[in-house]
Symmetry: C2
Subunit: 349 residues, 2 copies
DNA sequence: GTGAAAGCGCTAACAC
DNA sequence: GTGTTAGCGCTTTCAC
């Protein structure tokens, strides 16, 4: 209980009968120190439980061994895995990780970046929230703090970025549906708030255009990215006269909602409607049939982002790189030809 | 790009033609400062983009506004939610959160605590990994660093703790199975590595004892907490001669594994076997039928832990509190009487 | 090889 | 009211 006074360099210097300078040299193993002295100092330090004071070190020389990470939401498995990977990678370079979710709010993101700046972090990884301008990120760059964007690119921000090919993935997903014979492919999207949603929607439109299918506004539903809203949107979509025969959902929460909505409607997948979702998720392989999805290379994002960040922290001044990782269509059992045709185990999809 | 020299208190003092002390007083709003001076200083500071240097402040006075959190695994939704809640709560007291998973390894936990100590964090929240001794946590306490344990209590460690009633929850779960008429209730558990698993297993044994049912070693399977291992364990359990009629799983990963194993065996829930899992999870309401589970009050853990921590950080010296939150049995559709009896929509469970 | 001394940026007595 | 001064714990020239 007694908040024992922390042992400082001065203490161990005194105990070893050397100057603080000599002690520091011994402990950090630089400069000239007599082998005997060094050994003695090190032993005494160990004995007294000396542990150095990063704060003082940071004040003197550089910065604290701190890196900040701002995901949209740490509860999202996508970000949770990335956080885990960043954590694991960063630990090897003995950096500690500050994590704080922006909850997709720019204001919150700004505050977080602000506090990171005050702490003088060595670098920051952020999944930027949607916003027309981003002065806080620019300020970071301006101060020379290494910054890596993940998941969402930001135009005009000269920094490294790791994202996935959202448009391409969506195009492939919808293409697969079209290849199976669908013409009336619905989509649920998320009000365009986030860049990724916009790109995925663009991919949807692109796939339709590729095959000369006109966009039909009645097949495009808007919902916030929650299970409940997606469920409702699905129900609206399929209660229309002349309903769609297939559905493409822009993220895994929406895919879950779609599943629930379809179930509520008594519609069976893939017999009554075919379904493809963006983003793989654990539930996708538990359903019967399993759900066909566009999988993102989540496991690559964190490690790559860290590698880029460390390079910058080491002083690299290469021009910013924007890596766009490819997605992968995982064909499972949720796609079949329209009109309750044959089960499509081995269809084009 | 140009790492513009950070503006320091000295700079703004010079620009305002006052001493550093006066400037500091104006900026931090303490002590006597002339209103005019204060205003001028503040304006100049804003103009120059002064932002103070927490590191220097910390060196001088107290500590950095840092709190550490060591979950077992940030990817586990249980910990992800807690992390989210801690983050949200802590933000209000303007603390930044360091998060690093122990991966259930004491060695890693020790290293993390070590680095937190070096950073002089204000407090630590940890889900302690299984270990006979915990010198690093004791050291923390000894230094007077506030520490709150979550999810797992540690005997003999005089600090606050928030856990759930694992034994009681398990007892209720198994009791429910027994009430439905089951006598041969199997359990899959996790090698006793973690305290929670041990308590849940004790609850299982307790429920059996309550009803005069003898423990049967052949009904107790060991598996690590992974879907794959639990799947195998389930298959082993139900391939025996005289197989169980009900199954209790100790966490959600295992429940998923059990579902898969049962499906592989062609066994239907709850007709052929009844199932109750510890820990609620999203999939539990997607399956047909939905799975009966023992739900933990996850949403309470983080906020409560933070409240306790903040109190300690404010200097409270109350005796340590150990709060054990109650669990709740959520009766869904995975329990029925044994022997393919009637569907148990409204059975005792 | 080792010690003395000068700060890093900030705060808080204490003097004026 | 405001300035002077003395450090917080550490690193790092620069003498010796």
């Amino acid at each position: 209980m007694a908040p024992r006074k922390t042992v400082t360099l001065k203490d161990i210097a005194a105990a070893a009968n050397v100057s603080r300078a000599a002690a520091a040299r011994a402990l950090n193993g630089y400069g000239y120190v007599g082998a005997a002295t060094a050994e003695r100092v090190i032993e005494i330090a160990a004995q007294l439980g000396y542990r150095g004071n990063r704060v003082a070190q940071a004040l003197r020389g550089g910065q604290l061994p701190l890196v900040g990470f701002v995901p949209g939401d740490i509860q999202n498995p996508f970000f949770a895995q990335i956080a885990h990977d960043i954590d694991a990678q960063l630990r090897q370079s003995r950096q500690s990780l500050l994590i704080a979710s922006s909850a997709e709010s720019v204001a919150q993101e700004r505050d977080l970046i602000e506090s990171f700046r005050a702490l003088n972090v060595r670098g920051v990884i952020v999944a930027p929230a949607a916003s027309p301008t981003r002065p806080h990120l620019e300020a970071l760059l301006h101060e020379g703090v290494p910054l890596v964007l993940i998941d969402r690119a930001v135009e005009g921000l000269p920094c490294d970025c790791v994202s996935v090919d959202n448009a391409g993935g969506a195009r492939a997903a919808v293409g697969c549906l079209i290849a199976a014979g669908h013409r009336r492919v619905a989509v649920i999207h998320d009000d365009q708030r986030i860049v990724t949603a916009r790109d995925r929607l663009a991919g949807y439109a692109g796939a339709l255009a590729d095959h000369g299918i006109a966009l039909d506004a009645r097949l495009i539903a808007v919902a916030q990215s929650t299970v409940a809203q997606a469920t409702e949107a699905t129900i609206r979509l399929f209660r229309q006269p002349d309903p769609p025969t297939a559905l493409f959902t822009l993220d895994s929460l929406m895919t879950k909602g779609a599943l629930l909505g379809l179930r509520a409607l008594g519609l069976s997948v893939p017999r009554d409607v075919s379904l493809v979702g963006f983003d793989d998720f654990d539930l996708a392989t538990f359903t019967e049939p399993q759900i066909t999805v566009v999988a993102q290379p989540v496991a690559q994002i964190g490690p790559l982002a860290v590698r880029m960040l460390l390079e910058r922290m080491r002083g690299s001044t290469e021009p910013p790189r924007h890596v766009q990782l490819p997605t992968r269509l995982i064909r499972r059992g949720s796609v079949a030809p329209p009109g309750g045709g044959a089960a499509a185990t081995d269809s084009a999809c």
